[in-house]
């Protein structure tokens, strides 16, 4: 046998050997054997620790890009289990394909679960190779099941495209922040700050629908006790309504308060507005407004949209947003200002006599959006007055924000801790300082410089 023939023989033996060795991994990851989850919801279970909800999109829907009836392209499956991955396993057996998290864009936790702490779940998700750290993290003040059920794309062709808008929306509205499970994991795994999540809820249309369905299911409950879907919907809708009644998601567990939910309160003011309370009506039944704040891994409260704007400004995560300030030119009226950062914010901390002093410097540029009659917006005095009013508005907003995060929640979601690390040569020195206790009593100051440039196209009315 020639030398070449031996090499060819060796080549084929090796080829066969590796085909045999690697085919299992290939077969298990073959596209036709996979079912991709687009969003994953985690609620408190009735019979087990969690109720896991997985949203799949039918393969045909992806290939056609058909949006005529997107809800028919969904497959929403839920089950109860004691851990996320045992739940996914159960769903796996039902779907008949291997469930894959590689395209999971959103992970939704209900506030009820988030209050108990979600570190184990986040660590488990990050530990999984399939899920991307860029998947958004939502804490919904309705049930995660309801949140996912009501996600229907409006303008987008696919639901997955809607999820991709989260990052864009946060930059030009300032009403949410683009929080991903990767960000959350980083915050959770470090001692240098606390974390947040996007606060989600149902919009007015969905809230009304839920109220109607809960009333109907209440009427029929005696005759259709074994209808599990209705049961779930009824229970969850009552949860979501109770949360809207109380104005705080912490009360979502109080599901007995159904009669009040028939009249969901609608908040208009930016200072109080959070998800699940807006006046938004529309086909897509979900809304994301504000942030859910975590102390360590436990959900401890919400930030309203105006507090979220403050948070984003401090963290340089905002491109522009519109705020409503007291009109300095006309009593008892408001004017809309579009603001955007001129320079990056600066956080500086000082430690004086063991006390913490934190200063935040914001440089903003503003444009006037709403105009009055007979005002010259090219007049420097007018612009200065508006600048001062905007300045004092933000000063007040930041004061409220600082009070809320330090005194009320005692959380460091802006990573003020990092700017103070330079005072400590070693980690031991920092630990000895007892940051958490000092932060609670920290003195906050803010330097805000707002430069109102002009109105937009109309300069004089």
């Amino acid at each position: 046998m020639s030398k070449n023939a031996i090499w060819i023989l060796i080549f084929f033996i090796l080829l066969f050997f590796f085909i045999f060795g690697f085919s299992n991994s290939y077969i298990s990851r073959n596209l036709s054997n996979l079912a991709y989850i687009f969003s994953l919801g985690i609620d408190k279970g009735e019979h087990a620790k969690f109720k896991i909800t997985a949203q799949f999109t039918k393969n045909s829907a992806i290939s056609k890009g058909n949006s005529s009836d997107d809800s028919s392209n969904f497959v929403l499956t839920s089950c109860e289990a004691d851990s996320i991955f045992s739940g996914i396993n159960l769903i796996n057996s039902y779907i008949g394909r291997e469930v894959n998290l590689a395209h999971c864009s959103v992970v939704v936790f209900s506030t009820e679960i988030a209050e108990q702490g979600i570190s184990e779940e986040i660590y488990s998700l990050i530990n999984n190779e399939e899920i991307r750290p860029g998947a958004n993290l939502v804490v919904s003040n309705c049930s995660a099941y309801d949140y996912i059920k009501n996600v229907k794309p409006n303008i987008e062709t696919l639901t997955s495209h809607y999820y991709e808008t989260f990052s864009i929306t946060s930059k030009f509205t300032g009403y949410i922040s683009d929080i991903t499970i990767g960000n959350f994991f980083n915050d959770l795994s470090s001692k240098s700050g606390d974390s947040t999540a996007i606060l989600g809820g149902l919009n007015l249309t969905a809230r009304n629908d839920e109220t109607e369905s809960s009333n109907n299911s209440g009427d029929k409950s005696s005759s259709s006790e074994n209808s599990s879907a209705n049961e779930s919907s009824s229970e969850k809708s009552s949860e979501s309504k109770s949360s809207s009644d109380e104005g705080t998601s912490k009360d979502s567990s109080n599901s007995s308060n159904v009669e009040n939910s028939s009249n969901p309160n609608v908040i208009i003011s930016q200072d109080e507005l959070t998800a699940g309370h807006s006046s938004i009506s529309g086909e897509r039944g979900t809304e994301n407004l504000g942030l859910a704040v975590f102390k360590n891994d436990k959900y401890c409260g919400d930030l309203t949209v105006s507090e979220t704007i403050s948070h984003l400004l401090i963290n340089n995560k905002l491109n522009s947003c519109v705020v409503s300030i007291d009109n300095p030119l006309k009593e008892n009226s408001k004017m809309e200002i579009q603001i955007s950062p001129e320079k990056k914010s600066k956080i500086s901390t000082k430690i004086e006599n063991g006390n913490l002093k934190i200063n935040v410097k914001l440089n903003l540029v503003a444009d006037i959006i709403s105009l009055d009659k007979e005002t010259d917006y090219e007049n420097n005095i007018v612009l200065e007055k508006i600048s001062e009013a905007t300045n004092s508005y933000f000063k007040q907003e930041l004061n409220n924000y600082f009070n809320k995060i330090s005194k009320e929640y005692n959380v460091d979601i802006d990573k003020f801790c990092l700017s103070s690390l330079k005072y400590f040569p070693t980690e031991k020195d920092f630990n000895d300082f007892n940051w958490n206790e000092k932060y609670k009593n920290a003195e906050f100051t803010s330097n805000i410089d707002v430069n109102v440039v002009s109105s937009l196209l109309v300069t004089k009315t």
């Binding site: 090796l14 050997f17 590796f18 060795g21 690697f22 299992n24 991994s25 298990s28 590689a102 190779e129 991307r132 750290p133 860029g134 991709e164 990767g182 980083n186 915050d187 795994s189 470090s190 001692k191 240098s192 700050g193 990573k415 990092l418 700017s419 690390l421 330079k422 400590f424 040569p425 070693t426 980690e427 031991k428 020195d429 920092f430």
Partner: protein, 366 residues
């Protein structure tokens, strides 16, 4: 006729590739674990030490022109010392790269081949290394040179892509766990510069042995910059004072790269580059080890040694029961093996051989 000498560029590429693999698989993790926020300071410190040490090695090697450590050992202590040093280095190269093979194939299994036996993954990498080694005309060094710019570009790309997540304040507290851990116990991070072990065997392979100092220092500086960039990427991307230990921190940083919906899951490309680079590293190790055996046995061909060493390498990668044992083995055994062999025995041989050489030269003159 086969071309057996290596050009200057290939030398820089192979030395950087060796350190790069160490860095990807467990070097960056070890640096961050031992020095926390003082990692960058520690890298600067150990880089300076390595540059000084390399200068010293090159000074002594230059005195013996195209001799490697085996030849110098023979000059100093005859065949006995030559065999001892030769075997020690072969054992070191095989055990160390075997352990690294175990670590890397475990990571690959977790990430991409969950239902493939570790045996197949290890075998795949080893066979790749054998094939590349058996090709003539220094194919191993040439392929490493082709891969070298890709390694540099991918590291820069990773750094630039993750800049959006950077928080430069993660560099504080300046001294991390303390001055002792940064500058004294942090010396254990010298392990990342595996290149040092290979420098001793370079002179006979080089086209220009007298340029060894220039080339090795250049490669150490490039390696240090790569380490600095990589560790900075991890340190700045993930918050300071991190309490979590990850399998491949660099892979975690790669997963953050996101260029909209068009370029997603770029981690696959990085993993492919790392696989190619690791096969190159295994090939270089097999080639160097077989060169040592060739010299010990005064053989003309190294093919048989490559195959025998590859089998030993494969076996050395299989005894560890799990990933944790490989890490413990690196920290408790291989680390000391590295320091004793490279910083202790080898350096001592160079110094003593130089003194003997001086003594003999002076005697001749007188």
């Amino acid at each position: 006729m086969e071309n057996t000498k290596i050009g200057n560029k290939e030398i820089i590429a192979l030395l950087v590739t060796i350190t790069f693999n160490q860095l990807v698989i467990n070097g960056s993790k070890a640096i961050l674990n031992t020095t926390s926020s003082a990692s960058l300071l520690n890298i600067l410190f150990i880089s300076i030490i390595v540059i000084l040490f390399t200068s010293a090695i090159c000074f002594f090697l230059n005195k013996f022109s195209a001799f490697d450590l085996i030849d110098i050992s023979r000059f100093l202590g005859g065949n006995f010392l030559k065999w001892i040093i030769g075997l020690l280095y072969v054992i070191y190269f095989i055990v160390f790269s075997g352990n690294l093979l175990n670590l890397f194939s475990t990571c690959l299994q977790i990430i991409y081949f969950p239902v493939t036996l570790l045996f197949f993954i290890r075998l795949f990498l080893v066979i790749g290394a054998i094939i590349i080694c058996l090709f003539k005309n220094n194919a191993i060094y040439r392929s490493t040179f082709v891969l070298f710019p890709i390694l540099i570009i991918s590291t820069l790309f990773l750094f630039i892509s993750d800049i959006q997540f950077f928080n430069v304040e993660n560099v504080y507290p300046m001294f991390g766990f303390g001055i002792f851990s940064t500058f004294i116990s942090g010396l254990s991070n010298l392990l990342i510069f595996q290149t040092l072990a290979y420098i001793f065997f370079l002179p006979p392979m080089m086209k220009n042995p007298l340029e060894i100092k220039k080339l090795t220092i250049t490669s150490i500086i490039i390696s240090s910059l790569l380490i600095l960039l990589t560790v900075a990427t991890i340190l700045f991307t993930f918050n300071g004072l991190v309490e979590i230990d990850e399998l491949l921190p660099l892979y975690s940083a790669v997963r953050y790269i996101d260029y909209g919906s068009f370029f997603q899951k770029m981690n696959s490309i990085f993993l492919l580059i790392w696989i190619m680079s690791f096969v190159s590293y295994l090939g270089i190790t097999l080639k160097f080890s077989s060169n040592i055996l060739k010299k010990l046995f005064l053989s003309k061909s190294d093919s048989i040694f490559i195959i025998i060493l590859a089998i030993l390498l494969f076996l050395a990668s299989g005894w560890q029961e799990n990933y944790a044992i490989s890490i413990i083995f690196t920290q408790n055994m291989l680390k000391w093996f590295f320091f004793i062999l490279i910083f202790g025995i080898s350096f001592l041989i160079l110094v003593l051989a130089y003194l003997k050489y001086r003594y003999k030269t002076n005697k001749k003159i007188s």
